[in-house]
Symmetry: C2
Subunit: 215 residues, 2 copies
DNA sequence: GGTTTGCTGGACTATCTCGTCCACTTCAGG
DNA sequence: CCTGAAGTGGACGAGATAGTCCAGCAAACC
């Protein structure tokens, strides 16, 4: 994945233009994350980013292109986060545990949901043509997990009976579902339980006593 | 829970009126399920239910009350479905397996997502005051699972180390997350993997060899 | 330094959607 | 019947919002 939206902007931008575009994008992402796609309208975005109405059109000809750019932006952040050294490519049970702990500990996100998941479910039924874009992001995400799990299997850290593809789906789904429930309940418990149960399940495949006991 | 919206309609309705109201509600639920809350507007609903604009106002003074009624309606269906004899109160691993199989086998739902989950995430960030209503439904749903799991534990069918509350959250989250991913990918695999992994995890607590082996 | 290109501002319009209004019809009960 | 309440139809109004238009400004490039 590279920025497929960025590449479809043939007009050259000066440094100043690029800066303005980035500012719009950043504020759009924040607003959409906090208030949803629907509530993020021209007026809000104008005052938040400090730009005029025509600039929105100038850099993003319509709302769909803006949403697509925001999806790209959020996707980049998520993929980068999961590829960071912190999780070492998800090649150990501990890495998955750290990952779960991170979201349980971080206070805010559960109030607004997953930056991509809640965006996705808000617009997946609309006529915005963002289906493929979203599908690709979730595939990438799943693949990060799956590749980690396959590596663990090759390294003998988890049993050969484990199904990396299945477990990868389980982790992403546990996160998305847990976020939705936490968001609705305004309580982190559903997310915590869901993520920890997923890690617990992974642990049942662990081959070293250390990992298998740690629950 | 009883129909909290129904009870807040003080005006008496004749049989005919009741029928019209039910027809509006049914079509609204279908439209919202298929196209989302946003896209379900007066005009669409009018032609779908074959009523005039003023009737919508007559039976549902504003859109929020309509959405609340639809949430109630969907919640009833879901709770009834989960309480049906089919699943015997979720007091065995097999019941959970049947439950998972049902959604994996049923073709359509994954295309439009969960009738409540996708509705929830679409409107949870709006100013519609449906937060508490939704939260209660998901609690009920979770409690159906939790009570089944607690019964299983009392009956000695699963280990005492199992945490019914945690596992209940896991099941609901696995379903919601799996549905979202399936909906985006237009593929049932994520839902299947997520649900089956959840059932597999439950099975690791099973005390009878039959259940524990069946994976 | 001048010209061309990109950048910015803000008013304006077309459109959509919720909800209202009022006239008319059907139905229930005395 | 007759009367009033409930049900119905369709046009209309108010408000919001995405996107347009055009004029003025800044900056790059020759």
């Amino acid at each position: 994945m590279d920025g497929s939206v960025r590449s479809q902007a043939p007009q050259k931008l000066t440094d100043k233009g690029e800066a303005t575009r980035a500012r719009i994008l950043r504020h759009a992402a924040e607003l959409i994350y906090a208030k949803g796609v629907r509530a993020t309208n021209n007026e809000l975005l104008r005052s938040a980013a400090g730009v005029s109405g025509s600039q929105l059109t100038h850099y993003f000809p319509n709302k769909e292109s803006l949403v697509l750019a925001v999806i790209d932006w959020q996707a980049d952040r998520i993929v980068q986060f999961h590829r960071s050294e912190r999780f070492a490519g998800f090649d150990s049970v501990d890495a998955f545990q750290d990952w779960a702990d991170f979201y349980v500990a971080s206070g805010r996100p559960f109030e607004d949901g997953c930056s991509l998941g809640s965006l996705a479910s808000e617009i997946v039924k609309t006529d915005l043509d963002v289906h493929d874009q979203l599908a690709r992001v979730f595939e990438q995400w799943r693949d990060i997990f799956r590749e980690g799990l396959e590596r663990m299997q090759r390294l003998g850290r988890i049993d050969s009976s484990a199904d990396p593809a299945q477990l990868a789906h389980m982790f992403v789904a546990a996160y998305q579902g847990g976020m939705l429930l936490a968001q609705v309940a305004r309580d982190i418990a559903p997310l915590r339980d869901s993520l920890y149960a997923a890690v617990d399940h992974l642990r049942t495949f662990a081959t070293t006593p250390d990992d298998a006991d740690a629950s």
